[in-house]
Symmetry: C2
């Protein structure tokens, strides 16, 4: 399946600025993008980066589209073939998790993978009239949008797909469960801090 | 399958004290317990509450065991039948999610559902020598414990099982994705606050 991977190339991951400087945020964002592409490729799909500025990746085409994310995705919807959309900061993505989303779309017009905190981390769209809006509490908006166009909706239950990396607490999940490049990158710079309650992270050195 | 549901009956959910008083924490903890029991029952399993003090529930036996959680669970391990353990604060638990854990154990000695922040939210144990330790970063400890006793481990990828309700941000997930009693209870008291980034919650009224 063709899977769009939108990528914000300029000043990515701003909410990580309490623990990472601008160059580092750039580095981890690109590592996560490569992890997502690899997960899609290893599941046998055709990922395609839609970036706000040029970015170099192996094994996947890159299209530069400087419109906002939702507009750039919507410009590519409306065709007859199902189209996937997976956000670029899923450092826990695996081929199995990607296929969990793709398989859910077999019996639905739209499959959605909710992100932590009300976002949308993945969609497979097999309906001519469905459009995306990633702004704000997009999970609820996408559920409503599917209803509005009479699209059958499947919701995917995946911890890996729900874990987009936006905030320092998300780094914990990558250190614990990540298997890719971003996990290695973060593992060189952070260590788990296990006290009472949930585990945190500390900068190394 | 027999599934233990350990329940801390006295002063539960202390990390929610910034948004809920003691009576309310008690109320939501019991609502979540009933949601978990219902998910297990509706999946055809036999849940059994192991509580630190008497608690009234319908449709499931309650055993009072005042030992710490891990000791109370370990006292019930070592038999020949597989035994499930599911924490009592999974307000997003569904029969499908419970069966995702149970099914994962079909090809493994131990199946584990990681919780957000390094915890363990569910286990199915089919190995005589495996013991639990829920203290601290228990996910990593359980992975190591399985290796130490040569138990094959299956890790379950479920957003619903990973979402234990400990902190105010977790209430967002219940309002967005919950279908049970705790979701209704919280929905009467909180509303989503969708600004930039992840959605938060506000008290109603």
């Amino acid at each position: 399946m063709r899977i769009l991977v939108p990528f914000e190339a300029a000043d990515p991951k701003t909410r990580l600025d309490v623990v990472l400087d601008a160059d580092e945020r750039d580095g981890v964002a690109r590592a996560m993008l490569r992890d997502v592409l690899r997960a899609c490729l290893n599941a046998g799909h055709d990922p395609e980066v839609v970036a706000t500025a040029p970015v170099e990746v192996d094994d996947a085409p890159v299209t530069v589209d400087d419109r906002p994310l939702s507009a750039a995705v919507n410009a590519r919807l409306g065709g007859t073939a199902p189209l996937g959309v997976v956000v670029a900061d899923l450092a826990l993505a695996t081929p199995e998790a990607v296929d969990c989303l793709v398989d859910a779309a077999a019996d639905a017009d739209v499959a959605i993978a909710p992100g932590r905190g009300g976002g949308t981390n993945g969609l497979v769209i097999d309906h001519r009239d469905f459009r995306v809006d990633f702004h704000g509490a997009s999970y609820r908006d996408h559920v409503a949008a599917a209803r509005d166009v009479d699209a059958d909706l499947a919701v995917v239950d995946s911890m890996r797909l729900s874990t987009d990396v936006d905030e320092p607490a998300d780094i914990v999940e990558v250190l614990l469960h990540g298997e890719g490049e971003a996990a290695a990158w973060l593992g060189e710079r952070f260590e788990l801090d296990a006290g009472e309650g949930r585990v945190g992270v500390d900068r190394v050195g």
